[in-house]
Subunit: 366 residues, 3 copies
């Protein structure tokens, strides 16, 4: 049951086909891959997240949001522990008034009576209208999407992280946070039609080999011509060649370095990551001087005043707590953005995004 049979890494030839299986009417139905999201979809999600944030802030607007999907129910199947992502999804569902249940431990499930995991998922599909999955097995969410497509009652699946695979909703909240950081506050709506990434320099720092969030975010950033990516990592933890090839194919400018301080003055955003030593085969991480891929309070004097610091969290020592109070620190807002983005995504999957836009334009624009 628990043997991890990894699905072979996709080549770019078959990605188009995979997206076809996951989308309906050119929109994400199942949400499994970052590649499902083209630029208009990302832009609209960011805009919708902003609207939900505004509407949901007051009692009246919150009441409106909570009636939109009260006839839907969601299952959170989180077999791999993750408090942060779990709570982010539950908060998003609460904002939209979607009742949910969760299964987070196989020992309480029917599997003790010998049920297959596929049958467990099929059972969920009878009670719920959406399944959000976090699972240790690579490719599991995509497997479930395919399986449910064969059921008379097909419901959408959202990948909340499968193995070392992608983590598309993390990528969406990351790009939403960058979006908000790069906005000029004075600009009026509609701001999301502009490519705010053009000419921006974004550094990814740390364990780029094993962190899935960077991979997923790179796929999304390819939708924005003119963005410049800098991959800062120890040589042993370099970003995968498949990502670099993908960037080249999409004409995205990138560079690689093992020195963080060198490029610091030029960065518009820094995306920090922790050392993923839980994936070590034999303690090889211990040989790496990860201190060189850490950000301290003092280093801020060398960066732009408008620099945005992101981190998918949890952090360790690579991100000094002293930075928390600086305006550059966007990582706590990033956590909160995840809630709004996941609400926007859920609303879009269930086709109530238009109702939210209409409500917003009726009550919140002048």
């Amino acid at each position: 049951m628990q043997t991890m049979t990894p699905i072979p890494m996709p080549t770019h030839q078959d990605t188009a086909h995979r997206v076809t299986v996951l989308n309906r009417h050119d929109r994400p139905f199942h949400v499994v891959l970052a590649q499902q999201f083209d630029r208009p979809t990302i832009d609209q999600l960011c805009q919708l997240a902003d609207m939900i944030r505004t509407i949901g802030n007051a009692r009246q607007g919150s009441q409106f949001l909570r009636t939109l999907l009260s006839h839907r129910r969601a299952m959170l199947y989180f077999i791999q522990p993750s408090t942060r992502t779990f709570l982010s999804f539950t908060a998003a569902l609460q904002i939209l008034g979607v009742p949910y249940s969760d299964v987070r431990d196989r020992s309480t499930s029917s599997e003790v009576k010998g049920e297959s995991e596929d049958d467990t998922i099929r059972t969920f599909s009878q009670y719920f209208d959406m399944i959000i999955i976090r699972h240790p097995m690579e490719g599991f969410a995509e497997h479930v999407a395919t399986m449910l497509n064969a059921m008379p009652r097909t419901i959408p699946v959202v990948n909340a992280g499968s193995g070392k695979d992608q983590h598309p909703t993390q990528a969406l909240l990351d790009i939403y946070t960058l979006y908000r950081s790069f906005q000029e506050p004075s600009r009026t709506e509609p701001r999301y039609t502009r490519n705010v990434f053009a000419g921006k320099s974004i550094a990814f720092v740390g364990d780029l080999k094993r962190g899935r969030t960077v991979r997923s975010l790179a796929y999304l950033l390819c939708r924005y011509p003119g963005v410049r990516l800098v991959f800062v990592s120890p040589p042993e933890l370099r970003i995968g060649d498949d990502i670099l090839e993908y960037l080249t194919r999409h004409d995205i400018e990138y560079s690689l370095t093992d020195d963080l301080r060198d490029g610091l003055p030029e960065f518009d955003a820094i995306y920090m990551t922790r050392l993923q030593d839980e994936h070590d085969a034999a303690g090889e991480s211990k040989k790496i001087d990860y201190y060189r891929y850490s950000l301290s309070y003092d280093m801020m004097q060398h960066g732009k005043p408008t620099l945005a610091i992101l981190h998918p969290l949890p952090r360790r020592h690579e991100l000094d707590e002293q930075l928390d109070t600086l305006p550059q620190a966007k990582y706590w807002q990033q956590v909160r953005n995840g809630m709004w983005m996941r609400a926007a995504l859920t609303a879009t999957i269930f086709n109530v995004d238009t109702a939210i836009r209409d409500h917003y334009h009726a009550y919140y624009t002048f």
Copy 2:
């Protein structure tokens, strides 16, 4: 604490008295025994489940349902693991807008400070308006019903499975599934006044000795004169004599066999069950050729085209996955029916069934 003191098996003489303790105004108040349900009650529950299904499907109707019981709260005390039944009840409560909490693990409860389980239940009765219990001890739900009857604030108890005892809500969803399978689709309302079971032949297959679902369903089917029951099992796993005596006393025709293929062409429904080898004393199940009590895709050519296949799930090898896509396969719908039936039961316990009927007739009939 955990010593299983089984309550003596009831004789038919005292069932009437037990029902009196559990019912109020001739309706189930506590839901513990299948014998509490007479034919009008079953018919009304099936009809109500259909109405809730129809009303709850749209946003407006769902909003109506969710306000009916928002001033009630439910406790799910599920000490015995059961994902399927647990989620079915939570989905039913979500449909009716009943907030709930759950306790599924004694290690997090006050019992570590030496509290008796009776006091734990009494505490629940102060916060909640209904307790749904799944417990390893036979007779536990009935014990709780009696105990709560003695409290100033008495709240209803629902038996979601106690030991090898009955499982009445499973029986209700089973009979609801049979009901829907035997309907002629062309018939208009009111369809539930007719005895659709008259002349139907229903086979129960497998481990009939130790599966409590078959026992409870047999009690319900006795309410429908003219139904024919066939018990197909290995000799070692025959249905209990008490059930057969009950059938005889209620003039229900039945037969016993150890051969599934023989009677297959005549069955209108087959209720499959898995081998309950977790109840083995010394691995005696291993000697049984359970393959003879399995259903395969190929066998369908010998059955009626209108055959309905049910299974309480989880399944193992006795029910081929290839059957899933056939119209005969009703077991996934059966799962979903459980949600509607438990919503109907909850609405009935709290006396909002009439409000639902009124709403249905006002908006959904012509």
Copy 3:
């Protein structure tokens, strides 16, 4: 991480400063200490709890309550097991329609990836609008309050029990139960402006050294001149001197005794407690004859007929189950009162207490 660094016991000099950190506009913002509650605040909370009880009893009123705070969300961080307090808070939140999530087990949290507990709490503060904490470490809730005061997005913290520290919401429900017990039923509103404690004699019985509930309740009772407290305990388990000094400083009359039967005829209320032997260093509790600090059915003939018996529960043998059916037994109502009081507290923290009062006066007074 788990090393219990106890915060030094406060002296009365610094309590005033601590309250300043926790309050906003002279009202509790964070709820950590019983000393935050002055008499008008306690009186108003008791009155509000009564109003919520009345309003919430019917479907219409319940609907009103459930819309008041639907735009807020709560986190229950209950690392120390406590079913009773946990369920009481969840019921209170359900009454007010506040969606919530919980974390009850560190093993499912991000801490397995090396996150600090402070960062876990900071993450909660991004998703939720209130954190309710039960934690084994003394002073933890106060630490969190201070930490969150430094965040751009500050949200209130409620102490649901930290170590051997205070348990202020238990004290509030205890005093609410005493309030209701001492009311003359014939009196009309507004009854909460009167000091019903003047002239009343309240006995605290049992392990007064290690039970935090008695400590917190003593702080609250000091707000009511004329109340008389009797501490009945074995000499080894005497109430702490800091509490006695506090009473003296506030001119509250008290006495100490090791004999329960002696003073029984004079008590207006008895607050029973269990032996807290989980705090034993070396089984010292076994030498104590705790039977002398137990209440039996027979002893009731020596008490006033209006005597009110309270117990924070769970109970062991110190409180005979035979007492449960007597009118003197208030401990089950006390459990239920906790739910109403915690709803009143939550409403007050979020400033919707006035809306509830207005609703009450519009619909429920004549």
